[in-house]
């Protein structure tokens, strides 16, 4: 008589709910499309290096040349100077967003990064003013950022406080600490070697961009190639399954806050060096830009899904938007409105692309 074990009726894997090719394309590259579209718009309708009348776009394109009457005739937005400047500006938010992404991937959120940027920035400036030397100026802020993350991580994992609340405390607390520390006055007197971090070049590439690129690479490797990274995704995807699989959930959840704090401090060093002063209100609102970059980049706020390249695209999108609007002379009062609309639009497009999941 037959035994059940071997041939069993075909059990089919039910295919995922219908997602058309177009939708899948949108889901994958939606952010990138918006980014490219924005760049195109700012290139064409933004200012050109010479008067637009002298510089008929159609003539230039058909003539395959951007030189007319011996003058370079190109869009300001797409110029090398502007692009490098843009990416240099993005690198601070971009680095902060990388740490933020790790926290969000585990299903948490870090609202404290903006205040950490502010606080560690003025501490760095004060160390410079008091001639503490380059190394302490770099290490002390990083240590402060990391410690703040450690405290948050312990509060979240051992104290069972939601990360939203714990980091809201950091947001308020460090903002106040910054004002107390500086007496609400900017701190100046930064030394040349420290300022290099914000203003220097490696070859033709500004140092902040080099640091940002290294951070992207490191985060990408961490997420894709280490057990820690795999654990981060697993915790965000299903925390109890991760715990039961022997993942060190509490340790990893604490570490992502530490990294987020370190990222914020690193961003603060670049920002302070570039501004050539410690501004008591710098970093304010950075948490929102960082979270926006992460979310625009396709990371799920409930955790478990998201990529480094997505977050890069998200940060660039915000940077391009700010930069382009300034170039187009849009009133600073209108800029946040446009920014808000584009942020919501990008996420909406992502959702449409994802389709309705059952």
């Amino acid at each position: 008589m037959s035994v059940v074990a071997e041939p069993v009726g075909e059990v089919r894997a039910r295919p995922a709910v219908s997602r058309g090719l177009g939708n899948r394309f949108l889901q994958r590259y939606g952010t990138l499309l918006i980014l490219l579209a924005l760049c195109l718009v700012f290139t064409i309708i933004g200012p050109w290096r010479t008067a637009r009348e002298a510089c008929n776009l159609w003539e230039q394109v058909t003539a395959f040349t951007l030189v007319k009457n011996g003058q370079v005739c190109g869009p300001v937005f797409a110029s090398q100077v502007n692009i490098l400047n843009l990416v240099r500006q993005v690198s601070v938010i971009g680095i902060v967003a990388l740490g933020e992404m790790l926290v969000i991937l585990t299903g948490g959120i870090d609202l404290g990064v903006g205040s950490i940027v502010g606080f560690t920035g003025v501490v760095a400036a004060a160390l410079q003013r008091d001639n503490a030397g380059l190394l302490p100026t770099l290490l002390v802020p990083l240590l402060l950022g990391g410690t703040t993350g450690l405290v948050v991580g312990i509060l979240v994992t051992k104290g069972n406080i939601p990360s939203f609340v714990a980091t809201l405390g950091v947001l308020a607390g460090l903002q106040g600490a910054t004002l107390v520390f500086t007496n609400a006055q900017p701190i100046t007197g930064l030394k040349e070697d420290f300022r290099t971090i914000g203003t220097g070049y490696l070859g033709a590439i500004p140092l902040p961009i080099v640091i940002y690129a290294a951070a992207i690479l490191a985060t990408g490797l961490l997420l894709g190639r280490t057990t820690f990274g795999r654990g981060i995704y697993a915790i965000g995807g299903n925390e109890s399954a991760a715990r039961l699989s022997g993942i060190r959930v509490d340790l990893f959840k604490t570490l992502v806050f530490v990294i987020s704090g370190l990222g914020a401090a690193l961003g603060a060093l670049i920002l302070t060096a570039r501004l050539n002063s410690g501004q008591p209100n710098s970093g304010q609102g950075y948490e929102l830009d960082a979270i926006a970059s992460v979310v625009i980049g396709g990371t799920s706020l409930s955790g478990g899904r998201g990529t480094v390249l997505g977050t890069l695209a998200g940060a660039l999108l915000i940077g391009v938007l700010s930069n382009g609007l300034v170039l187009m002379n849009v009133s600073p009062y209108y800029q946040p409105i446009i920014k808000g609309a584009i942020i919501v639009g990008a996420v909406l497009l992502d959702q449409v692309g994802r389709g309705r999941r059952t």
């Binding site: 035994v3 074990a5 894997a13 280490t226």
Partner: protein, 496 residues
Amino acid sequence: MHTDARRPLVEMRGMSKAFPGVQALQSVDLDLHAGEVHAVVGENGAGKSTLMKILAGVNHADAGSVRLQSRPIQNANPRQALERGVTMIHQELNLAPNLSVAENVFLGRAPTRGGLIDWSRLYADAEALAARLGIELDVRARVEDLSVARQQTVEIAKALSLDARVIIMDEPTSALTERETEALFDIIARLKGQGVAIAYISHRLDEIFRVADRVTVLRDGRLVGTLPIGEATPPRLIGMMVGRELTTLFPKEAVEIGQPVLEVRHLRRTGVLDDISFVLRHREILGLAGLVGAGRTELVRGLFGADPLNAGEILIQGRPVHIRSPRDAISLGLGFVTEDRKLQGLVLGMTVRENETLASLAQISRAGLLDTNRETTLAARLVEQLGVRTPSLEQEVANLSGGNQQKVVIAKWLATQPRILILDEPTRGIDVGAKAEVHALMSRLAHDGVSILMISSELPEILGMSDRILVMRQGRVTGEFTREQASQEAIMACAA
């Protein structure tokens, strides 16, 4: 309007439905008569849920017609179906946990007086409905304080309050104890008496023989046949479901049982576990029987370091051990296939590969760096070994069928090369074919030297697979049987 008494209440004709890549239904007919319990059975993916969802307005058919009392209808959405008296009670209940029973029953339709809720009438109406179901139900209790079985009766009461003429039940007993199941069958009998047509989806054949009047079998989206229950036998139904006859459901091999591998002494967790002692031997399959709530899951979670224990001693291969976390348990050679694969077993958004290696990352990494080649090799070997049906290793497990998801969970633990494997309801909610494969695998693992501790609420499974059986009741071990001594009656006598 006069309707012919012999004419079915619901007539579905030529129902077809395609999802991308799969024809879920192909020209299926189904009749439901008033006062009839009609079981719909088939393996996972056979199309029974799709068919029922079309009736309930959740899915839309590509072709075919539905008549309700001879009138053609097309339920555009569940709300429209409800208005026509067709209700589906899903496996996942749809109740507002923080509201009272009565509020849930009349959600959005509470009787009002002067714009405010008329509480006394609300409670009175809810009590009247409970009486119609023949049950005692505290209509003022909050739903979250009720057992799953009670919550289900709230759903049924809600359906009745909407004058449901057709009630579709999708695996209604999967979370119920035996006693609660009996109570549900009483309710079903009462509904029948009131002329309600019931479509009953279940994997449990014994239940179908208990409650159904007729049974329809689907396979691969096609209708295999509809039989009066009197003409059906379990082998015949299984044969229709899988396309051939199955004779041996539990392929337990006799193995030579060795020395104790796991010894548990006087384990205690206040209010949950009371002085539990037992031994698990090399190559043994030890069945853990009992009613839901007897403390079986709590016991194995405690053993695995997932829940705290207050007192007791655990020895592995004769050595006392302290298990403070699942991580400790894994390093001591324990594996734990949890009861609920979606909530605790799988990371649904991750791929087959990532899920399979999740508990053995140390094995495929050096200094925290993953060796992706070794990972892929390991994952591919497990897919092959367990016969996981997946288009690729990179498929998200959310897209696999229940049986294949369960195989992925088991694969995750096999990857850790456990000496002791804990299986909590290993075949719950998976179809007959996959179930047989899991049983064959258990037998093979025991043969290869793994000791297995299996919790199951299905007595045939306990009796069929275990070398020895422990019975628990209210946090205590109340009985122990060898394979030869055990019988359904003896186990139930200890469990209830």
